[in-house]
């Protein structure tokens, strides 16, 4: 009846057009769902945009969510490029926050120009270790990295819970004390300087993936492990180094979030951003420039969703529903970019099949 035929060479324009169409279709489908739930979809969309861009303050809040999403996406992209399915960004971010908080709480009296670099380093080391564990298990034993990175997320999150309710608790409430002002990242143009780190990192990852030997080796390894071996690439070493980078970058996101936004460590400071970042990375097709766009779009959804709760008393979870619908449509659309459906004429008995 039907068969799928691979399109020989989908043009760039057609791809962009189809993807844009899929976003529109997703928004339309979500609007239907909202209407079915009894909400006015136009008002919801309007408030989401107003809530994320309406005032300077809201725009700041949106950008505060772009920064971790973008940094996490960059980290994840390094791993995904070699088809190492690192879905452990949430845990690597949590451990990065832990490392930074350790320095901030223990050496809070140090001047900022020593303390902040120390927090950067410790955050990246802790995130990096959390990234290297699944890499070592994979190259030494062949353990499935998707499942190991997933499990490590929950171990890291429980670790934060343990600290908050146990050894790092101060006073009667399960709460870790605020960092000293020395441990808080300074701001530039009203936004913590993490945005500059994110911009520099975007350029660095772009160059690393496209212009360096390591980036080339990661790409070859991603295409085919046997080709990589044949080309004399040290597969174990590249895997471990790339995951060290991936984890360290995600740890950096955790450091910046604890230092600049939360100003302390909480068990929930990652807030699922590590999982959302897997999606922003994938939607951008691992392109660092594209990730700026997808991170903005999803930060807008999260921030706009929060605004819905205050203005329309609609659960901020509406944003989650919208995220899901958009992903379903955009990823589903990728299939139709690559394939077209041909209807086969039914074969008549005795006749020629054509």
């Amino acid at each position: 009846m039907m068969r799928m035929v691979r399109r020989s060479n989908p043009s760039k324009n057609m791809q962009i057009l189809m993807r844009a169409g899929s976003v529109v279709a997703a928004l339309a489908a979500a609007a239907l769902l909202m209407a079915a739930l009894g909400y006015n979809p136009f008002l919801v969309y309007y408030n989401m945009v107003a809530g994320s861009f309406g005032t300077a303050y809201r725009l700041q809040a949106t950008i505060h969510k772009v920064i971790p999403l973008l940094v996490l996406s960059l980290g994840i992209a390094v791993a995904f490029k070699m088809k190492f399915w690192n879905i452990g960004a949430e845990g690597q971010m949590a451990m990065g926050g832990f490392g930074a908080a350790y320095a901030a709480l223990k050496y809070g009296a140090l001047p900022p120009y020593i303390l902040l670099p120390l927090m950067f380093v410790l955050g990246m080391i802790c995130g990096g270790i959390w990234g290297v564990i699944p890499a070592i298990l994979k190259v030494k034993l062949g353990t499935n990295e998707t499942l190991v990175t997933l499990m490590l997320n929950y171990i890291a999150l429980r670790w934060l819970t343990y600290l908050q309710y146990g050894p790092w608790k101060v006073g009667g409430f399960p709460r870790i004390p605020d960092f000293s002002p020395n441990a808080v990242l300074p701001s530039l143009f009203g936004i913590h300087i993490g945005w500059m780190v994110a911009v520099l990192l975007t350029a660095a990852v772009y160059v690393m993936l496209r212009r360096t030997k390591l980036g080339y080796e990661i790409a070859v390894l991603g295409e085919s492990e046997s080709t990589a071996r044949y080309a004399g690439i040290n597969v174990s070493k590249v895997t471990i180094v790339a995951m060290l980078i991936s984890g360290a970058v995600c740890g950096l996101a955790g450091m910046m979030q604890t230092s600049a936004v939360e100003k302390t460590l909480t068990e929930q400071f990652t807030g699922g951003l590590g999982f959302t970042a897997v999606i922003t990375t994938w939607l951008a097709r691992l392109s660092p420039i594209g990730m700026i766009g997808t991170s903005f779009a999803f930060a807008m959804l999260i921030q706009g969703g929060g605004y819905l709760e205050t203005t329309m008393s609609i659960s901020s979870k509406m944003a989650d529903v919208l995220q899901g619908v958009i992903i379903f449509f955009v990823l589903g659309c990728d299939f139709f970019i690559q394939y077209k459906i041909q209807l086969r004429k039914p074969v008549r008995k005795g006749g020629e099949a054509k």
Binding site: W85, L147, Q323
Partner: protein, 321 residues
């Protein structure tokens, strides 16, 4: 001695209650993964099942209908996953994560009108604890299975049936072949996509009623993110049980036992005159640590029956053969 036996019996009864929704989620996950599809949407599907069932129960007052609604909601959510990953070959990990985000969100919105509401009394009459005479008096194990909500023995029976299905029946063996080597299965005349769809949807049904059991029977109330990560534990237990439905019972009850002990350990257990207090968050790490350990062990062992389905996570497309 008899007091101890009674304590043990009551403890196991609690263990089975704590483990049943996880067992249903795990069985659903096994169904999916056996045909080669890694479903990270279990948490979202269970939440959808939990909220929709609770909603239906309040709206209709019919608990059996509510359980059916839970299951069918799970099927509908699994259909999204199946269509995107099987027919449209999308990345299973990304779609699974998206399904969890979507399901968590939608369940909160469905649940906003039922949060804090009480269930009608008919629920307890039909789905609540049933004591089976004689059998429930069996020492130690009696209360665990025969003084329970019907869900508890049902989940155990389902596990046993699934074990036979995957090991002794032709469709079950075909399904494993689909998960192991879809191209070979296709060549031998097995309709790969149909097998994948049926198993993913059936898995969604089990995850859905797992959520329904949790909201309507175990918790008896709805709140946002009620399942609190049970779906992720299920993802872990699928591996921990090495894709074997019988071991899934063991895994889920072991988890229930750790949970049961957590309640006790938080208040402290006297040992040698000292009070041993273990942090519950450290205990909560155990299922995940154990899963990593199992993953390492199964990659070290050569026995093929402990290996994951070979095509797990890969899309299959016959045009690419």
């Amino acid at each position: 001695m008899s007091a101890f036996l009674n304590d043990a019996a009551v403890f196991l009864q609690v263990v089975a209650q704590l483990g049943t929704h996880i067992l249903l989620g795990t069985l659903g996950g096994i169904l999916c993964e056996k045909v080669g599809n890694l479903n990270l949407g279990i948490e979202g599907i269970m939440l959808l099942g939990a909220s929709s069932g609770f909603f239906a129960c309040i709206a209709t007052g019919n608990p059996l209908l509510a359980v059916l609604v839970s299951g069918l909601t799970g099927v509908a959510a699994a259909l999204i996953y199946a269509f995107l990953t099987v027919s449209l070959r999308c990345n299973q990990v990304v779609i699974g994560l998206a399904l969890t985000i979507f399901g968590t969100g939608l369940s909160s919105i469905i649940g906003s009108s039922i949060a804090g509401r009480a269930l009608p009394g008919s629920v307890n009459a039909i789905l609540g604890t049933k004591t089976i005479p004689v059998l429930s008096q069996i020492p130690i194990l009696g209360k665990m299975l025969f003084q329970q909500s019907p869900f508890v023995p049902l989940a155990v029976i389902l596990s046993i049936l699934l074990y036979f299905y995957f090991n002794k029946t032709n469709p079950g063996l075909n399904a494993r072949m689909v998960g192991h080597n879809p191209a070979a299965a296709d060549a031998s005349g097995i309709h790969v996509s149909a097998y994948k769809y049926v198993h993913i949807l059936a898995g969604g049904f089990l995850m859905g009623i797992g959520g329904g059991f949790f909201s309507m029977v175990y918790a008896g109330r709805w709140q946002n993110e009620l399942t609190a990560g049970a779906g992720w534990i299920a993802v872990a237990l699928v591996i921990f049980s090495t894709w074997d439905p019988l071991k899934a019972i063991f895994g889920a009850y072991l988890f229930g036992a750790v949970r049961g002990l957590t309640f006790k350990l938080q208040s402290g257990i006297p040992i040698f005159g000292q009070k041993l207090v273990v942090s519950s968050s450290l205990l909560d790490m155990l299922p995940y640590l154990a899963t990593i350990l199992v993953l390492v062990l199964i990659t070290l062992r050569r026995k093929p029956e402990y290996k994951p389905p070979k095509s797990l996570g890969d899309p299959y497309f016959r045009e690419d053969r």
